[in-house]
């Protein structure tokens, strides 16, 4: 039976892991390759590197991180942030990554998803969707997907600073039609708040697409992972700070999921 994945996310700037609230108060937390290898040993089902390097000249450093990780940790690696073209994606895959996640670039140039899927296969193309709740709409402005009065979410980019006007569920469906083989759905209302995943958002998307949905944004503890899968219909769950701050281990999260009857790849199997 297909296991529900637990995925630690490492924010990487200039080749170093940084943590803190995503874009401010960054503190250096060490070598991403070393941390990734440790997570793999501890049972991570996949590792996501989110490249938040600000300066263009620092961009190449994530390739070196992927290269070093791929030679030591034999689990799937995904790179997000800053990839804007087929050629850039090729470089990331050649460094040893398995997937590339597109966020702002996909919104700006949706055809990029199609081009990359054609070249490397849909399985390598992840569309990251950052979504924020909108206030309920009056009945007169109802859209095809959004039932009048029901909750809707708007896609935002640039770390939540830029509203796009796109409706998140519609964008999710379109991204899949364009070629995305997986969706990484982050609730910007919950991200960094440790108040649990937005399971309503996850369900709204997972019930309308066939590709796997990765839940992100808001994890506070193992129970949230259970809810993201059970209530949100997520296929995988991503978190950053609760792992980096060693509030919970991957094993503790997986044990809670297993106790709730969800299929997981046991950590002892990974460490066998």
């Amino acid at each position: 039976m297909l296991a529900r994945r637990v995925i630690p996310c490492l924010d990487v700037a200039d080749g170093r892991v940084v943590k803190g609230t995503r874009f401010v108060d960054l503190t250096d937390e060490g070598d991403p390759a070393e941390l990734a290898e440790r997570y793999a040993r501890e049972g991570a089902d996949e590792i996501v590197f989110l490249d938040i390097t600000a300066a263009p000249e620092g961009r190449g450093t994530v390739l070196d991180v992927v290269r070093r990780t791929a030679s030591r940790a034999f689990v799937p690696l995904t790179v997000g942030g800053g990839v804007r073209s087929v050629d850039e994606m090729r470089d990331v895959l050649r460094a040893g990554a398995d997937k590339v996640s597109f966020n702002t670039a996909a919104v700006a140039t949706p055809g990029l998803l199609t081009e990359c899927a054609r070249r490397f296969g849909s399985q390598a193309v992840v569309c990251a969707i950052d979504a924020r709740r909108r206030p309920p709409r009056p009945p007169s402005t109802a859209e095809p997907v959004a039932v009048a009065g029901a909750t809707t979410w708007e896609v935002v980019t640039h770390g939540g600073r830029t509203p796009t006007g796109l409706e998140a569920v519609e964008w999710a469906q379109r991204a899949v039609a364009l070629g995305a083989g997986e969706l990484l759905v982050t609730s910007m209302d919950r991200d960094g708040t440790r108040s649990g995943f937005d399971t309503e958002l996850l369900r709204a998307i997972s019930s309308r697409v066939r590709v796997p949905v990765i839940a992100s944004g808001g994890a506070a503890g193992p129970e949230d992972f259970v809810l993201a899968v059970r209530d949100g219909g997520a296929d995988a769950v991503l978190a950053a700070s609760i792992f980096h701050r060693q509030m919970y281990s991957i094993d503790e999260v997986k044990q809670a999921m297993a106790a709730a009857g969800l299929p997981v790849r046991p950590v002892e199997e990974a460490a066998a």
């Binding site: 039976m1 297909l2 296991a3 529900r4 994945r5 793999a40 089902d45 290269r67 791929a70 030679s71 034999f74 689990v75 799937p76 895959l93 050649r94 460094a95 040893g96 990554a97 398995d98 490397f120 296969g121 849909s122 399985q123 390598a124 083989g181 997986e182 066939r210 590709v211 796997p212 296929d235 995988a236 790849r265 199997e269 990974a270 460490a271 066998a272």
Partner: protein, 228 residues
Amino acid sequence: MSARRPPVVAVLDYGAANMVSISQALVAAGAHAVVATDAAGLQGVDAIVVPGVGAAAPAMVHLRERGLLEPLREWVRADRPCLGICLGYQLFFDRSAEGDAETLGLLAGRTLALEGAPTLPHIGWNTVEAVRPHPLFEGIADGSHFYFVHSFAPAPEDETVVVARTTHGRPFVSAVASGSLYGLQFHPEKSDEAGQRLLANFLRLVVAADGKVAAGGTGAVARGAVVS
């Protein structure tokens, strides 16, 4: 080949795979991995790995363009060790429903879309259930998790080649073996400890096959013959 020399494994590069991951995983498992982009790259190697993700039709075009089709067929006809991974495994069969492509025809059967799958692509760690014991899975608990990324899987006509099955919606064949030809729908190079052990087992089979040849064996087992 001397027992001390690590087996030389050629990873076929036909523009459809993450060459870095499979090469590094083979090296970690004890191989000397080389990347082969044409027939000359197969000179002097002990085994071939056919990796790959993506679609069958363009993969066949690339194999043909690089002059690898016939050398690969001859290699397998001579029962020399060959491991196909994901798309590489699917190419061993007669045809693929993905783009209705004619494939290598080394094993009887067709590659079909996964039916009844709750999610597609089938991405993630799934359990591999043994149909029969096989040295590839030695030391790996039955039902261990391996990493999958695919939407199609082969349906072998010859049940005796089936080594393991996996269920996503419905069961499909996730591992086959026929003589020294091995096929895996999952990615051992992305499957952590279980995958590394499987690759090490493959390398042991490569060394054993080489010993057989060195000892004067025929080195030729008929298509469909089973090693176990």
